[in-house]
Symmetry: C2
Subunit: 339 residues, 2 copies
């Protein structure tokens, strides 16, 4: 049997993650103890949040320790099992970490493996619409954003993992949906393929002018994945009682200077508006409801799923940085082995 | 009869308001038309919000026009009446503007005069706890802050008009209350006289250390009147599901550079917390309920009211700037005539 290959955190990055922040290790695969399983990782989810997990300090989840295998969600196939919970050949989703094989107790809390069905949806969908990004989008939008039919919803990172589902769910709820994304290709995609009403290409257009043009009734819900100047600009266009969902701030994650606070936050006061932070884990007891609803919409062809697959575990460092350079187009997934 | 003396807006201020931004005008008092009243102004309310009204641009209320009498709330006595709504000698509260006499229709919408009873409470109280600051504090805290017994509430501008009532109401609701104010005298006052649990003197102490010391259980509700560094520091100490009420940002109102956005706003994400803006006018249909509750607590000696009275309409420009220099101690009121 082959050995395990792992990416471990070697140093806490300053700014963009460098190759030297990672350590590649190779280990023999140890025999299973009773109750344990071995999962062969097929696909890894690459998420902006991973950059935050590499930092020290209090957050919604403990930081990855120096020397620890980098945390990541993934899907895989059970290669061996000494647990009644899973059989060899089962497809599973869970916290595999950035490695070829995950080995441990079948009921490990932090890995939290559960079976998935490759006949219902492609495996990568379980890392996207039917995975964490989908749950983030579905619950964050409906519970914190609370869009009502006829309202205008704006979402940044519109072609990304979370943004694509936010916009499509908002369309299903009867909203006018305007995306913000980088580049003509992404903008064309969310409008033509995903059915957004419009998309502002922040790399080539003025976001301010775009909002004025495409949100003639103002902005009722803004789902923010990026922070920085875009958040500040949207704040100038919000309506009375608007809801801003703070899901992420990818523009700020590699800052070596302090985070750029929203200079226009007093628009919250003028408009009696609200800005609220969300973390997907809070909805864990209702994931099954979100998966059921999104699965239904997908089966009906009402919601599409777009993944950007990079091949080869060895390309993990380069692939992760694509997120912060806006180079991925759709949910970024790293294929570790052929399914 | 004497003439009317008025302060009109001469220019839109840049930074701190200068004497040249005002024009003093003197006019004869015209005879009343049918349905009109003349109110002799006794006390004027000086509020941080007035600085915002002097700026151009969209806000929750239209800007004061150049040449217009400066907007202000006041209490006065009806000097003459040709309306059945008010009799000469009635005490009233409403939008008098910065002048000696207000003359116009008894049912003028923007002035919105209503009778007050000087036997129930001192006249100045109707510009403080039983007026707009009291309503702002009461409804902003209870409706947006939603404090629960046992939670920790922090309020900045603690000795100011809104802050003093926020803290006292939170104490009545069973919360631990920590104020932030400038100077030992103000801090001693809110603790000893108003019954706050603690007060941090931001001019002489580290706010960060003070919060660590006085909020050992973290911060559940932060009622923000000041913005700037203090908001940013409190953001580092908030609890899961904390509520931040954005009532004002007095530290930023005279900026000639962009407003300082809260650099630590991603603490909202980490803590699934909320930041919401409030404007008192939204609660206008329930002011009577707020006045009844605050009046009851005042009558029972559970809530105190502290005003800082400056004398003489001619001192209006200097008095207004006291707010932005932190020089007032309690709700700032300008006495225009002896009651």
């Amino acid at each position: 049997m082959e050995t395990n290959l792992q990416f471990r955190l070697a140093a806490r990055p300053v700014g963009m993650v460098k190759d030297s922040d990672w350590q590649q290790t190779e280990e023999p695969l140890r025999p299973l103890a009773d109750g344990e399983i071995r999962v062969q990782v097929l696909y890894l989810s690459l998420d902006p949040a991973m950059r935050g997990w590499m930092n020290e300090g209090k957050s919604y989840i403990r930081p990855v320790a120096i020397g620890e295998v980098m945390r990541a969600g993934g899907v895989g196939v059970v290669a061996e099992s000494r647990s009644p919970k899973f059989a060899a050949g089962d497809y599973v989703s869970g916290g595999t970490g950035v490695q070829r094989y995950w080995t441990g107790p079948a009921d490990d809390k932090s890995a939290s493996f559960h079976k998935i069905d490759p006949k219902l949806a492609p495996l990568t969908t379980y890392l996207n619409t039917l995975g964490m990004p989908g749950m983030t989008a579905y619950f964050g939008l409906t519970e914190s954003g609370q869009p009502k039919a006829g309202e205008t919803v704006v979402v940044s990172g519109a072609a990304g993992a979370v943004g694509q589902t936010v916009g499509q769910v908002a369309k299903q709820l009867g909203c006018r949906v305007v995306g913000i994304a980088g580049g003509k290709e992404k903008c064309d995609f969310v409008v033509r393929e995903l059915g957004f009403d419009a998309c502002i290409d922040y790399k080539n257009e003025s976001v301010r002018d775009g909002l004025r043009q495409h949100c003639p009734q103002g902005v009722d819900v803004y789902f923010d994945n990026v922070g920085g100047d875009i958040l500040d600009t949207v704040l100038t266009r919000i309506n009375l009682k608007a809801r801003i969902v703070i899901c992420g701030a990818i523009s700020q994650y590699n800052n070596t200077t302090p985070v750029q606070g929203p200079s226009n936050y007093l628009s919250l006061l003028v408009n009696r508006a609200r800005m609220e932070g969300i973390v997907v884990f809070d909805y864990a007891d209702r994931y099954h409801l979100g998966i059921a609803q999104l699965g239904r919409w997908m089966a009906e062809g009402k919601i599409k799923s777009k993944e950007d697959v990079v091949h080869g575990l060895e390309n993990f460092p380069t692939a992760l940085n694509m997120l912060f350079e806006g180079k991925n187009f759709g949910k970024l997934v790293l294929q570790v082995a052929a399914p």
